[in-house]
């Protein structure tokens, strides 16, 4: 069927894309407005609401916490997820099938239930510090992305290269770092980015893991929106979008964006 889609379908697809883009444009416009209330099109251009973000200490604090949690959580998920993804591919025959499903559980169970369960068992149950509970929660919700993306790159890796290195006398651990890992570098970068953004945007797990002086940025945004209807949140949103664009540019440079469309 080399013929083009029906014109009506093209019109509908164009409208769907308009529906996807317009709200984001509106947020950017509202962030640039000079008014004390949210409006679009912006009335008088100004960056004062961007300055305002950093004048509110709750925003300053939660931005730092969110970045710390996203970075550390992703790092730990990579440390435990890369060996797991490697083993799932390398020992496909020896390991049971359900093990692969086990690592997907954090995205199969409702995230909000997971957050509540962590609150009940960890924060309330053992009195663990909130930061630690947040870190554990975020590590687990990004683990499925890490295992899946890296497994996908390992699936196209030819393990006979590794065997060749080992039979020529290279130590297994050294072989992993010098032969296997460099071959799936793209997958590791993609996994890092996907995990980092997922953690940064998470609401449902962080929702329950807040306490005096500690929370994440999305939870702070929710709290702010419910009290004030000023453009501060719009400018925070724009900051997050800029970050997303930057990240997408990195992915584009290293892997090509179609990589994300899997």
């Amino acid at each position: 069927m080399s013929d083009r889609p029906h014109p009506l379908l093209i019109v509908i697809a164009a409208l769907v894309y308009l529906f996807l883009m317009v709200p984001l444009v509106i947020v950017v416009g509202a962030a640039l407005s000079d008014t004390t209330y949210l409006t679009f099109p912006p009335q008088g251009l100004s960056l004062r609401w961007f300055e305002n973000i950093f004048q509110i200490s709750a925003f300053r604090r939660t931005i730092v916490t969110s970045l710390q949690i996203a970075f550390l959580g992703t790092l730990i998920a990579l440390l435990i997820g890369i060996p797991a993804a490697y083993a799932l591919n390398r020992f496909r025959v020896e390991l049971p099938k359900w093990l692969g499903t086990l690592f997907l559980l954090p995205i199969l169970v409702p995230e909000i239930v997971f957050g509540f369960a962590l609150l009940k068992s960890l924060t309330v149950g053992t009195g663990a510090p909130i930061f630690l509970a947040l870190l554990i929660g975020h590590t687990l919700i990004v683990l499925p992305y890490v295992v899946r993306v890296i497994s996908a790159s390992l699936a196209s890796f030819d393990f006979s290269i590794e065997e060749a290195a080992i039979s020529l006398g290279s130590a297994p651990v050294k072989t992993f770092f010098t032969i296997v890992l460099p071959n799936v570098r793209g997958g590791v970068i993609a996994a890092f980015i996907l995990a980092f953004i997922t953690s940064l945007n998470d609401v449902s797990v962080s929702l329950f893991l807040t306490g005096p002086g500690i929370s994440t940025l999305p939870i702070q945004i929710l709290a702010h929106v419910e009290q004030f209807f000023d453009p501060t949140v719009a400018s925070v949103s724009v900051l997050l979008m800029v970050l997303t664009v930057a990240v997408m540019a990195i992915v584009e440079r290293t892997l090509g964006l179609t990589f994300l469309a899997k």
Binding site: M1, L79, L99, F116, T244
Partner: protein, 282 residues
């Protein structure tokens, strides 16, 4: 040779390498959630007491049905528009196609709070839509659009359409082109090819997409919270209120158990169905 034999010996190395991740999932996810669910059956009032009191409350059963209804509407709307859009994207020439994929990935990577917030600006009492409608003289006073079921559904569709488009583009691209060419060269009209060849081949992918959207909207928190408020309480917002506002742990755990059981059953049932009806399966 010895190194190779060591490596080949058995799956012990495999188990050892998966152990840290397995332990993390078991200790911090399975055990805590299992404990929440088990706890609901240890109520001093009786084994099923929390569930009996849940379903005896008119408000709480309404919340359950409202959540199911919102998820069903969101799924159907996302499925229809997602499929049509994905079809156009999959037929687009190379450059345009990658641009369209990027345009769908971008909202997906933008957080749920930001995306719900955008609709707050649009649908608010003094929002853009009301201003436009007033300026055009279509309405005389602002419409109450926020805190309605429609607002929540619009916000959810906005959340899930990109996901649907992206997963269906993948599905449509995996359908071999020769099958469609065979159909049209044997005399089927484009419409017939679409309904009788393309659509049946896409059904397993449509089911997977539908499950993703249904379970996603069934458990979503930020969008119903911002766009629906208390008037459109759903299971996720009710769970949050019970746990963080009323400190009703048993009530919150019951909601958590209901959400988990419904989500997992849908995922299992539909993945079973998708596997059975897959016409491409060997």
């Amino acid at each position: 040779m010895t190194a190779r034999r060591f490596w080949r010996r058995n799956g012990a190395t495999g188990w050892a390498l998966t152990a840290p991740a397995t332990l993390a999932v078991v200790a911090f996810l399975i055990v805590p959630i299992g404990a929440v669910i088990a706890g609901t059956f240890m109520d001093p009032r009786g084994v099923f007491a929390p569930y009996i009191s849940y379903f005896n409350s008119g408000f709480r059963t309404t919340v359950l049905f409202r959540t199911l209804q919102i998820s069903a509407f969101t799924t159907v709307i996302s499925l229809i528009f997602g499929f049509m859009t994905a079809y156009v994207v999959s037929r687009a020439p190379g450059k345009v196609k990658s641009l369209l994929i990027v345009a769908a990935v971008f909202p997906l990577l933008t957080g749920v709070v930001v995306r719900a917030f955008a609709w707050l600006i649009i649908l608010g009492r003094n929002g853009i839509l009301n201003q436009a409608l007033l300026a055009l003289g279509i309405v005389n006073e602002p419409l109450e659009m926020l805190y309605t079921q429609g607002a929540v559904i619009v916000g959810m569709v906005y959340l899930f359409v990109p996901l649907m488009v992206l997963s269906l583009v993948g599905v449509l691209e995996n359908i071999p082109k020769d099958v469609l060419q065979a159909s049209s060269s044997l005399g089927a009209s484009p419409m017939a090819t679409f309904w009788q060849v393309l659509l049946p081949l896409a059904v397993p992918g449509l089911i997977v997409g539908a499950v993703l959207v249904f379970t996603g909207s069934f458990t979503a928190y930020a969008t119903p919270q911002l766009l629906g408020g208390e008037r459109q309480t759903v299971l996720a917002t009710l769970l949050q209120q019970r746990a963080m506002v009323s400190f009703d742990w048993v009530g919150a755990s019951t909601i958590a158990a209901i959400m988990t059981v419904i989500t997992i059953s849908i995922v299992l049932a539909m993945s079973h169905v998708a596997r059975r009806i897959n016409p491409m399966a060997t």
